[in-house]
Symmetry: C2
Subunit: 409 residues, 2 copies
């Protein structure tokens, strides 16, 4: 993509009403635009980041047998009454329609997928079943805040697993826990993301959260530094020791919840009567798990823990452009390099503008945050080629022009 | 994908409340599931079709300079008041929120993208600009009907173009018209889809619809069979002749609108004061066009014009699986072929189930509708290999097992 053709507008300052580090950085960088409190448009630059995260998640979900579907935003009141959450969930958006029915905007999809799966399965042969979607979700938050961290409209991956018995659920839950760790590692925040024990509700002993350490995090966790495992605030009174080594030496930390996994057991299969006969001919309620990742929140979290003032280096698999090529008055040489890279389908942004100063180009490149930056200037050419900065390795080298693309691969 | 692992449930009969050919076929075939009137879940089989259509559209939009973004479902009342559509559009879903603001579910995105673009452009150098998204849209329809054809929640591609002057808009509009024809051709309904002149509203002489001839279509168009161009019912009184050859020999036909393109001119740039200075230094309102395709509606339209009773052959680029491999008691040979195809990343569904009769397998294969079907049975093996049915060419051949995958490519 040539910068002169790319629909991007960056700003010198973040908007005054940006209420968090992620909002300030992402709005200033032209990734997102605030439409109203808690509701953001994803601009071409921001959508590239979100799609990269979606791709990672989709690949990992498919890898453990997940099958993708797409459930509606609108939900019928009856389904939410059946589970008891129509009155209980205060963040539910409720709406009257012209045909005098009441509907909701689904904040999660248990109430939709359980009756759906009921229509799809007829025997234990149809289990286990792992269904997921990537879809907008909605929360009627009293106070939307923290940019993409607590939005009213946000992108989620939610997977629901259906099992013939509890031990099958337990096995899958363990697998999913490992896959989640892998996802956050691929998203570049693996080292800061802590498996955290949380309340399991009435149906299970524990659930687990993936909490990314961040001083701006709204959650409080109690970390065992030895085991890299934590307990969340909700259950610390009854569980004030490391779940792994049993040590009581826990450190209070702020963190952002980027994912959670939950054994629902039969909480939703009961009210919706989702049952199948097992191998012994006994009809039993289906055992369920649910597994969420807030994708827009994950994007914000990467910013919270990675970005500096006006500057980011995106993790390799997340970066909107892997390479940024900057020409400082040497468009002939830069064009040639760009054309080669473009034909090679490299994910490259080429700043070809000639009415923009070097300082402005660099400032913008800092906001776009490619892992690799290539500069072609009089200075670099007289030193022997292009200046190639590998931000992740922290290394700058001069590379002959005909070797540049070989070197960065 | 192995059929035994694929989350698909087909039915002998369509549900009683399915109100149209597309709903009957797609619900029976396990493509979609009705959640409530006008609101459908896309199951894994149906999502594959929708994603294929999205891929075609995305490729064509990118091909004429479109840049993808993602705008919110929720919209602020104020924006819709500014354009005058808050009161005028009776299909607008309106909702109160906990912080006592009123919001809407966006049925289209002019009111969102125009102020957004205002924040992104500062001079004629930033134009033209072509932005599109693929996103859920919402219409509070009094009577949702016709399956995916008139839904309350539906998937749309909408592109908005921004120009410095009318002639630039005109040029792009013509290009888009040709690209739309290409999209419907790739989607397999090109021959039945007619460029149709429609009202241009107060700001333009005409807009254009792409109308697919179908006896179940809700629209009425007046077709010039010689020129393959039509006039829609709305303007036939003032324009009762072929826009091309001027002949008055027009034939009344039923059709489904699968796309429309519209010169908005300054209809929305006026109220939102979207202006830039042109090369002469004159500040003028930006000229706009909008270009929509209902993607879920397109899927339904393909069914309406392609499917028979319990049977479809999907167009090549749209098919959820390009190849269906059916084993009739010869899983050893079929497995080997499947493994080879799978490793070769072929888009193949392999019916490996051994507790299902041949009749049931064929009936289901008819619902899934791959362009190519391969059957391996005692009969086919004794005839010399696999029976390969190319549904598009209407040809059945026996192909030696080691040549099958070479042949279908």
């Amino acid at each position: 993509m040539k910068r002169s053709q790319f629909a991007l507008k960056t700003f010198r300052e973040a908007p005054k009403d940006a209420d968090s580090k992620n909002a300030r950085f992402l709005e200033r960088g032209g990734y997102i635009n605030k439409l109203m409190a808690g509701v953001y448009s994803f601009l071409p630059l921001g959508l590239r980041v979100m799609r990269n995260l979606e791709d990672i998640i989709r690949e990992e979900m498919d890898g453990i047998g997940g099958q993708e579907l797409f459930l509606p935003v609108l939900g019928p009141k009856e389904n939410w009454q059946k589970s008891g959450r129509y009155e209980d969930l205060d963040i539910l958006y409720k709406m009257d329609t012209v045909d005098e029915k009441q509907i909701v905007l689904n904040p999660t999809h248990e109430e939709i997928i359980v009756p759906l799966v009921k229509s799809m399965i007829s025997s234990y042969n149809d289990l286990p079943l792992y269904l997921y979607q990537i879809q907008d979700k909605f929360r009627n938050e009293k106070r939307a805040k923290s940019g993409l961290l607590r939005g009213r409209e946000f992108m989620m991956k939610d997977l629901y697993s259906f099992h013939i018995n509890e031990s099958d659920l337990d096995d899958y839950y363990e697998k999913m826990s490992r896959v989640y760790a892998k996802i956050f590692s691929r998203a570049g925040i693996g080292e800061k993301t802590i498996l955290t024990f949380a309340s399991g509700g009435t149906f299970s002993k524990y659930s687990h959260e993936f909490q990314t350490l961040s001083e701006n995090g709204e959650d409080t966790i109690y970390l065992c530094e030895k085991c890299n495992v934590a307990v969340n605030k909700e259950i610390i009174d009854e569980h004030n020791y490391c779940p792994n080594c049993k040590s009581a030496d826990l450190i209070e930390k702020s963190a952002i919840e980027v994912g959670n996994i939950f054994k629902l057991r039969t909480k939703y299969s009961k009210p919706f009567e989702l049952k199948v006969a097992n191998q012994k001919g006994e009809t039993k309620e289906v055992e369920m798990g649910c597994y969420g990742i807030g994708i827009s929140r994950l994007m914000a979290t990467i910013v919270e823990v990675t970005a500096g003032e006006g500057k980011i280096v995106w993790p390799e698999e997340v970066a909107p452009f892997k390479v940024q090529l900057i020409s400082l008055g040497r468009n002939v040489e830069a064009n040639e390099l760009y054309e080669t890279a473009y034909n090679d389908k490299q994910n490259i942004l080429y700043d070809d503008r000639d009415d923009i100063s070097a300082g402005e180009k660099f400032a913008e490149a800092d906001l776009i945050g490619s892992p690799v930056r290539i500069i072609i200037s009089d200075k670099s050419l007289s030193a022997g080629g292009a200046e190639v900065i590998d931000h992740q390795k922290g290394r700058t080298t001069i590379v002959p022009l005909d070797k540049v693309l070989v070197r960065i691969d």
